[in-house]
Structures are given as structure tokens and as C-alpha cells.
């Protein structure tokens, strides 16, 4: 018997080089991105400063890598870019939200964000229902709704970017300049990263922990919209008129999104362990194994830490270039440092001391408060000291 197996084993060829593993769609992705970058260069390249080249190259590389590492990014990018471009085109031929029903109800930045909110709330409900019922179909719906919400959110941001220029060409800015806009970014990017971890680990039940926080974010967003009218487009204060913002803020939110996911998985871990100790509970049925949760927690924190480091450095470099000091101990900066030190501590404890399990899950979960304070608390409770708030 052994011999039959021996004969049947055919030589496996050495691993082909990485690009030889590309499928057709990967080549299409590569070609499409390259063409898009080429068109942008052709149209605007002559007016680019050297930093714009850096930004373009960064986006190109990031999308290329993300699309290859996780193929759904390819379709999602198309699903975001094409409708957004369509809306921009509608605006360019003189259509507006008042005379075009598609713009008014779907594609307009504000409308798309409302769609995002509704879809993400529905997705959250599905994830929770999935957790309680364990029904596969509900879980599939949850994932699909989350994807739809993410796509609508990014369409909203993209179209809003164009809208900031409409009527007031000198107002134009990337829509990450006030609390409303960054909250949209948060609500759209957190589920996006979550979907990656869900797919990679086949761990759908985690959504029942991650998505409720996103839903809370959506609730806050809606409150800002209806009670505070913060969705209005406003011009930028002078201190924020810098291309550094285009790099600094979005990277910060890669960090926030991943940290948030890690903390909520920490919560899931703790509750699942509790069920395990008690020997019962629906969590045991649907939640992934502790190893997987522990691993996802670490990976999310690692990715978040990398981006958070880059974003903080970019912020410091921006401050140095624009206002004359890397670091002025303004509360936001200080809290970014606190978040960073906290996770540096976490990584050392885990990687070097080899801590695992409940203690690290608690650490990760409690970090949620630190991160939220840095994101929201500083703006709400510690205002007034921003050195750039003066101008």
C-alpha cells in the first residue's frame, strides 16, 4: 500500500515566482490600476508637486497590494470608483441634487452616507441574529450588507470630496476635516478591515462583537447629522490647508479601525472563555477557537500599530514643516503617544514575554477606552489647547 502511494506521488515543481501565481483578474487589476494612474498623471501630472507624486504612488502601491492580498478589494474598488465617477460626471454636466433624482437619493455624498448608515445598522442586526440563531443564511446576509454599507460609505466620501469644490472652488478639501467626515471614514473603514479578518479566518461570529460598535458610531453620526447639522460642507481653517492631511488622517484611521477591531475581539474572547468555563452557551457553538481570536487580535494590533506609527510620524513631520515643532504636547498628540505606548507595551508583553490568553484579551479590550478617548474624548473634553486651534 505504501508503494502505491509512493508511485502515485508526482514531483511537485518548485514554487513559481509570485507573479506567476497571478490569475487573469490579477493581471487585469494591475493593468487597470496602471492605466488609471497613467490617466491621472496625463491629466494632472503637469501641475503636480513632488508630494503629489508620492501620494499617487502610495495609493497605487497600497491598492495593488491590497487587491492582490485580498481579491474582494478589486471588485469593491470598482464598485466604489465607478459610481463615484458617475456622480462627479453628473455634477460636471450641471446636474444637481435638486434636479437629478439619482444624485438626490443615492449618490450625493450625504445620501450615500445615509445609505451606509442604514446598511450597517441592518448588518449589525443580522450579525447579532446570526450569533443567537447560528443560521448560515443570516450570516451571509450580514456579510453582504456590511459590504454594501462599506461601499456606500466610500462612495459618499468620494462624491463629497467633489462636492466640497462645487460652488466654492476655494473650499475644496479631502473630506476628513471635521468630526462628521472622520466618523464616516471610521464607520466605513472599520467594517472593511473587519471583513478581511472575517474572511481570512472564516470567523463570522466576530461580527456580532465588532459591528455593534460600528452601529454605535453610526448612531453618533446620525445624531451629529440631525441634531448638530454637522454634515454641512464648510471651508477649511488655514492650519488644515495642507496636503499632509491627506496622508495623516486616513492612515490614523487604519490604526483606529484595527485597534477597535482588536479590542472587540478581545471582548469576544473574554465572553467565550467565560462560557467555556461554565461549559455552556451559544458562544461556544459559533465563535472561532481561542487561538484564532488571539491571533486575529495580535494581527489587527500589529497592522494598526504600523499605520498608527506612520500616521503619528507624518503628523509630527507636518507639525515640524508647518508650525515649527515636531511635538508640542498638545492633548491630541499626547494621547496619540499614550495609545502608541500602550500598544508597544502590549506587543512586548505578547511577543517577547510570550503572554497569551485572558490577560492579553483584557489588555486589548481595555485599550478601547484609550483609543476612543484619543479619537473622540480629546476633541470633546480637552478642547482649547490645540496649538493650531488658534488660527
Amino acid at each position: 500500500m505504501a508503494n502505491t502511494r509512493l508511485e502515485s506521488w508526482t514531483e511537485s515543481s518548485p514554487e513559481p515566482s509570485w507573479w506567476a501565481q497571478w490569475k487573469l483578474r490579477d493581471w487585469a487589476w494591475f493593468a487597470g490600476l496602471s492605466i488609471a494612474a497613467g490617466i491621472i498623471l496625463g491629466l494632472y501630472g503637469s501641475s503636480f508637486g513632488y508630494w503629489q507624486f508620492v501620494v499617487l504612488a502610495a495609493w497605487y502601491a497600497a491598492l495593488l497590494v491590497a487587491g492582490l492580498a485580498w481579491r474582494p478589494v478589486q471588485l469593491a474598488t470598482l464598485g466604489i470608483v465607478l459610481p463615484a465617477l458617475f456622480a462627479v460626471w453628473l455634477y460636471s454636466i450641471g446636474q444637481t441634487a435638486t434636479n437629478n433624482i439619482l444624485l438626490r437619493d443615492v449618490l450625493q455624498g450625504y445620501a450615500a452616507v445615509m445609505w451606509m448608515s442604514a446598511l450597517l445598522l441592518a448588518a449589525t442586526a443580522c450579525y447579532l441574529f446570526y450569533l443567537f440563531s447560528g443560521r448560515e443564511r443570516v450570516g451571509q446576509w450580514a456579510t453582504a450588507l456590511t459590504w454594501a454599507g462599506v461601499i456606500m460609505g466610500f462612495i459618499g466620501l468620494g462624491v463629497r470630496w467633489r462636492e466640497t469644490y462645487l460652488g466654492h472652488p476655494d473650499w475644496g478639501h479631502i473630506p476628513v476635516s471635521n468630526l462628521w467626515e472622520v466618523l464616516v471614514l471610521f464607520c466605513a473603514s472599520t467594517p472593511l478591515f473587519y471583513l478581511y479578518y472575517e474572511k481570512r479566518n472564516e470567523a463570522r461570529a466576530l461580527g456580532a462583537f465588532v459591528m455593534p460598535l460600528v452601529a454605535a458610531g453610526v448612531g453618533f453620526l446620525l445624531w451629529l447629522t440631525f441634531a448638530q447639522h454637522m454634515d454641512r460642507i464648510e471651508p477649511l481653517i488655514p492650519a488644515l490647508q495642507s496636503f499632509w492631511m491627506k496622508l495623516h488622517v486616513p492612515m490614523m484611521f487604519v490604526g483606529y479601525a484595527n485597534f477597535t477591531i482588536a479590542s472587540l475581539i478581545g471582548l469576544g474572547y473574554l465572553l467565550t472563555e467565560r462560557s467555556r468555563r461554565r461549559g455552556s452557551g451559544m458562544l461556544l457553538r459559533v465563535m472561532p477557537s481561542s487561538e484564532v481570536m488571539d491571533d486575529v487580535m495580535y494581527k489587527a494590533i500589529a497592522l494598526g500599530f504600523l499605520f498608527f506609527t506612520v500616521a503619528t510620524i507624518l503628523g509630527a513631520v507636518w507639525a515640524a514643516k508647518a508650525w515649527g515643532g515636531f511635538w508640542s504636547w498638545d492633548p491630541k498628540e499626547t494621547w496619540a503617544l499614550i495609545v502608541w505606548l500602550n500598544y508597544a507595551g502590549y506587543l512586548h508583553a505578547r511577543v517577547v514575554k510570550g503572554w497569551r490568553g485572558t490577560a492579553m484579551a483584557w489588555w486589548s479590550f481595555m485599550s478601547l477606552w484609550v483609543v476612543s478617548f484619543c479619537f473622540l474624548g480629546v476633541n470633546m473634553f480637552l478642547s482649547g489647547l490645540h496649538s493650531y486651534g488658534k488660527l
Binding site: D170, G345, V370
Partner: protein, 621 residues
């Protein structure tokens, strides 16, 4: 993982123990968390305020306790600096101690490894194959290559060792991150003007506490050397003036840093969006050499500093630079008298005739596009703001020493067809402003109302009762005398508005009202001037940090050792022992290991393989 931390013997000289303590992971994690917690303090207590504010907030006892703890400037306090220094020291120790071992590991990779080491790996597998040695070796190499490794072989005494690794440069990540931390902190320390701190500590530099001294009167002990390698100071420069030094806050006072050139502010300009929000602040600046030669001319804008010879000039704030204001004074109840005139510059104290009243002109604002709610108006979503034109702020002291602060807007506000002069006042600095609204007459001034007020008061003095008839009658007389052109609707609007104003005036603290008639505006720009030669080091440190983190996270080191030896003379079987570990992403590696050991079993035609028992029993295939 911990071997390098715990592996040293107990009986060590003192300093070895100290080094061991400094490089220990426990200290590192504790310091990271401690620093995070300590950093919170400075965000709760607002930093570097004038000491009077703290004294008022905490009372004398706690004020001095907190001062001794350095809480008013936490991040420059001795203990905070000490924690950072400890962390840097600990990191440096850690790097120095780990370097030789890690460098060796990176350079050398033994192909032959003792069985105990192989069995000490995270994963191992033992199996036996009937294939001849050479063929088994061939297939093993194939499997490993297919999994992306580049195995190496060493043959000795009939047995064979195969080894492979990925992520050889993983350790480089450790060096890059940790050395970067040390470098960045060192460069930051250099930039945080250590020589000045040193001189201050030595007593050769003494911060000056009096903020009202002109530059020429500031004692020499507060002047920093011109050769100071790094500095960061501010200067408030009125339009048309020149300065050759900047100020650095130090404790409760300041130090003076002379500059290698003179800065002249030609003009300052604010541009606005259509909403009234500022769009840009621009200072037009000329730099002169000490001999008076023009070195450079240009604009300093927010986000767009100007540089000259390693010194950078930033637009950091703005204020009034001493605008000339011309005001009218209306005495409340002085009948028919023409309003008085008063003129002065912002920053001056004026005396209103010889009445004993003094007016401190505090500030002037060229534009006031304010939220409606700020002046007690109802905001609508479409028109949330109101343009009230220029305003000025002043404090009036009466002869008895009482004082109140006022804020007067130049442009009247319109409400329901009637114009109103808006005047805010408060009797204590911390209070919110209260507003009175005085109706303006057909010529846009408050003269008509003042006449009406005077007429009412003289009517009251002659014994008239405060009846509706008297109000209307007096008003009619005043209108006939001073504003005969007023239509009846205008009159009724005005009369109605006046009734409310009369009520509001009850609480008004001073017997006269100032209104602004014209002004000659002058700005002052707040400029920050820095010289930071350590910057380039910090940039490279940051690059190393990010690169290092990337390597640590995403290029894990994976190592495989494998031993093939014949099992006894007769059996003809070959025994294989394989051990492997990864130092990051162990879960992924477990899967990977399972995958290619499975292939290996197939390739070698093995029925049974013995795997390492995993503690939790999860990963055994």
C-alpha cells in the same frame, strides 16, 4: 524567547545585575505603561498657564504642591524626563546586550543541529521511509523548495542534515526599531535646547518675569547666547516694526533669544471665505542683516514658513498691533448735549475728561461674523451667522474703583426692520457677556434714542408719572424735534424697541456709552522662529523605525532543521527527524507546517508519523 533575559547566572558583580535589570523586559513593559499613564496628567491640567491662574484654581496650598511636582509643565519636569531617560537607557542596554547574539544568528545558520535542539522546536515530526537515502533526500528537497525554502545539505558519516530558513533579516527589524527610538529621543533632547536648560540650572541665565519691559530694558541675565545651536521662540510684531530677538517661555517668565538677522513686518493680511471664516493669514516680512542689508523678502503664511540660513519663520498667531480708534461718548440722560469725542490706540488707557472715569482700550476686531446665538439672536440653519462689523473691547473704571468690561460693535444689527446698536458688558471677567440693544434712528446712530432717554428723564424730574401716554407723547416731541422725516411704521418700531431697551438699561453699570465712529487699523503678527539642526537625524530615525516595525511584523523568521539517518544496518529504512519554528505568526506557521509535512509523508510513502504533542492538543494532525 526568554532565554537571553534569564540565562545569566546569579552570582554576578553588581553592575551586571544592574545591566540585567535595565535590559529586562519587565522593566521595559513597566516603563512603557508608566510613561503612558504619566503623559495623561498634562492633558488633564492645561499646561504653561500663568501661575496666577493655577493659584486661583487650586488655592495656595495645592498650588505650591503641584508647582513642586512640576505639574504646570509636566513634560519638561525632572521626573518625566527621568522616566523617558530610563526608557532610552533600558532600550539602549537591551540593544547592546542582544546585538552580539542576534548578529551571530543572522550571519550564521548551522545546518547540523543536535537532536535535543530539534526536539526543542515548536513543531517536530519523526517518521521512517523505505526509500533509499539519496531518493529520500531528493524528494525532501523538492517538498521544501515547493514550500518556498532554499534548503542546504550537509552529509557526514552516512547521515545527512538538511536545514532551511526564511526571514533571515527579521532581527534587523529589532535593531532598526530600537536604535531608532534611542536616536529619535537623543535628537529630540538636543533640540529641546539642553545648553539653555543647563545654563538656567547653573544660574547664569535667569528668566525675566516682567512681561511689560521693552527689549532694551530686559536684563542681560535673561539673554541667551546668539550661538545657541537650537531654539524656538515667538515674537509679536506690529505692522511696520522690526525685531532682532524672540522670546522663549521659561517657567513663570521668559528668556530672550537674539537672532542673526532683523525681522521687519511690512504688513499683515487676512483673507476670508464668503462665510466670514478666515482663509489665510499672511505676513509680508523683510529680513535685514545687522548692518541693514536686505537679506530676504517674502510672505510667511500658515503652513508655508520662510527659511533663511537654517532659521525658520512661521506664522503662528495674530493680534491687534495698536489700532487708532475714534469714539463718541453719550452720557445717559444728558439732554440734547452733543456727544463727546475720544481717541486713542489699542493698549492705551484714556481719561474721559476729568470725570474720574478711565477707559482701557483692550482690543479691536476688524470683522465679527458671529453665530447668532452669541448675541442672543435665534439662529436659522440657512443664516446661522450675523455680520456685526468691527468691534472693540474696553474696560471702564469708575472713580470708586469699580470696573466693567464692554464689547461694542460698530455695525448695527437689523431685526424686524429696526436697526440695533449691540453692546455687550460684564462685570466680572469670567462671566458671559450680557447684551443691550439700542435702537438706531434714521441716520444710523443712537443719538435719537439718547435724546428720547434724556427727554423721558427730564419729564420724570418734572413729576410726570410713567404712563403709556407720557412715553408716547415724549417720543412724539423728540421725533418732531430731531427726526421729522420718520414714517409712522418706523416710529412705532422704534418706540416698541425703546421700551425694551429702557428695561435693559436698568442694570447697565456705567453712566455713558461709547460708540466707534472711525478707526485706523493696525495688525500685529505672532511669528515663531526656530532653529533645529537635529531635524534630519529625526527624519532618518523615523524611517528606520517604520522599516523596522514592518520587518518585525511581516518578515517572520522561520527555521527548519532535518536529520536523515539509516535505521540500523539490516532494516534498510531511513529515519527522519524534522523540527521547525517561526518566531511570529505561529498559528499561520502551524498550518503551513501541517501542509508541507503532509506532502512530505506522501512523498516519502510514510504510513505513520509521530508528531510533537501540542499542549492544548489542538494542532496534532
Amino acid at each position: 524567547m526568554q532565554a537571553h533575559v534569564d540565562g545569566l547566572a546569579w552570582q554576578q558583580p553588581r553592575w551586571r545585575l544592574l545591566v540585567q535589570f535595565l535590559g529586562s523586559m519587565r522593566l521595559a513593559v513597566s516603563l512603557l505603561v508608566l510613561l503612558a499613564i504619566a503623559s495623561v496628567i498634562g492633558t488633564i491640567l492645561s499646561q504653561q498657564q500663568p501661575y496666577q491662574n493655577y493659584a486661583m484654581q487650586f488655592g495656595p496650598f495645592w498650588f505650591s504642591v503641584y508647582r513642586e511636582l512640576g505639574l504646570y509643565n509636566v513634560y519638561r519636569s525632572l521626573w518625566y524626563t527621568a522616566i523617558v531617560a530610563f526608557l532610552v537607557l533600558s532600550t539602549a542596554t537591551c540593544v547592546t546586550r542582544n546585538s552580539p547574539r542576534m548578529l551571530r544568528e543572522m550571519r550564521e545558520f548551522p545546518i547540523r543541529q543536535r537532536d535535543t535542539v530539534i526536539l526543542g522546536q515548536d513543531h517536530w515530526v519523526r517518521m521512517a521511509t523505505t526509500l533509499p537515502m539519496a531518493q529520500a533526500q531528493e524528494r525532501i528537497l523538492q517538498v521544501l523548495r515547493a514550500a518556498g525554502y532554499k534548503p542546504r545539505v550537509e552529509q557526514k558519516d552516512g547521515d545527512m542534515a538538511i536545514a532551511a530558513r526564511k526571514g533571515r533579516y527579521h532581527r534587523l527589524g529589532y535593531f532598526l526599531t530600537h536604535i531608532a527610538i534611542v536616536v529619535i529621543c537623543a535628537a529630540a533632547l538636543y533640540n529641546a535646547d539642553v545648553p539653555v536648560k543647563w545654563a538656567e540650572w547653573q544660574g547664569t541665565l535667569k528668566p525675566e518675569q516682567n512681561f511689560d519691559l521693552p527689549l532694551s530694558k530686559i536684563p542681560r541675565t535673561a539673554w541667551i547666547s546668539q550661538n545657541n545651536p537650537a531654539y524656538r521662540g515667538i515674537i509679536t510684531l506690529p505692522e511696520g516694526q522690526t525685531a532682532n530677538a524672540v522670546f522663549e517661555l521659561a517657567g513663570n517668565g521668559y528668556l530672550v533669544q537674539p537672532l542673526p538677522f532683523r525681522i521687519h513686518l511690512q504688513s499683515f493680511h487676512i483673507s476670508y471665505y464668503s462665510t466670514g471664516m478666515p482663509k489665510d493669514f499672511t505676513s509680508r516680512v523683510v529680513l535685514y542683516s545687522p548692518q541693514g542689508k536686505v537679506l530676504k523678502t517674502g510672505d510667511v503664511r500658515v503652513n508655508h514658513p520662510m527659511s533663511y540660513d537654517g532659521v525658520y519663520i512661521y506664522q503662528s498667531s495674530f493680534s491687534d498691533g495698536g489700532s487708532l480708534l475714534h469714539m463718541k461718548t453719550y452720557l445717559l440722560g444728558a439732554s440734547g448735549a452733543a456727544p463727546g469725542e475720544l481717541s486713542g490706540r489699542v493698549g492705551q488707557t484714556l481719561h474721559a475728561g476729568n470725570s474720574g472715569y478711565a477707559v482701557d482700550l483692550k482690543n479691536f476686531n476688524l470683522y465679527n461674523i458671529v453665530p447668532k446665538a452669541a448675541v442672543g439672536e435665534k439662529a436659522t440653519p440657512d443664516h446661522p451667522t450675523l455680520n456685526l462689523g468691527p468691534s472693540f473691547t474696553y474696560i471702564i473704571h469708575n472713580p470708586n474703583g469699580q470696573a466693567a468690561e464692554f464689547k461694542t460693535y460698530m455695525t448695527p444689527m437689523r431685526r424686524g426692520g429696526q436697526g440695533f446698536f449691540v453692546q455687550g458688558y460684564r462685570e466680572a471677567l469670567g462671566d458671559a457677556y450680557r447684551y443691550i440693544y439700542i435702537p438706531t434712528g434714521p441716520n444710523g446712530s443712537i443719538g435719537l434714542f439718547m435724546d428720547y432717554l434724556a427727554a423721558l428723564q427730564s419729564a420724570a424730574r418734572t413729576g410726570a408719572n410713567a404712563s403709556q401716554a407720557i412715553f408716547t407723547e415724549t417720543f412724539q416731541q423728540v421725533v418732531a424735534r430731531h427726526a421729522p422725516g420718520m414714517s409712522t411704521t418706523e416710529q412705532s418700531h422704534f418706540l416698541q424697541a425703546s421700551m425694551q431697551t429702557l428695561v435693559q438699561l436698568h442694570d447697565y453699570p456705567m453712566p455713558f456709552i461709547l460708540s466707534l465712529s472711525s478707526f485706523d487699523h493696525r495688525w500685529a503678527a505672532g511669528l515663531q522662529v526656530t532653529k533645529w539642526p537635529g531635524t534630519i537625524v529625526i527624519y532618518w530615525g523615523c524611517v528606520a523605525l517604520v522599516l523596522g516595525i514592518f520587518i518585525l511584523f511581516y518578515i517572520p523568521q522561520k527555521r527548519i532543521w532535518l536529520r536523515l539517518r539509516p535505521r540500523g544496518q539490516e532494516s534498510g529504512e531511513v529515519e527522519l527527524l524534522l523540527g521547525a519554528s517561526a518566531d511570529r505568526n505561529r498559528l499561520d506557521f502551524t498550518k503551513e507546517f501541517k501542509r508541507w509535512t503532509g506532502t512530505l509523508e506522501q512523498a516519502l510513502g510514510v504510513d505513520h508519523a509521530e508528531y510533537k504533542e501540542q499542549k492544548d492538543g489542538q494542532h496534532t494532525p
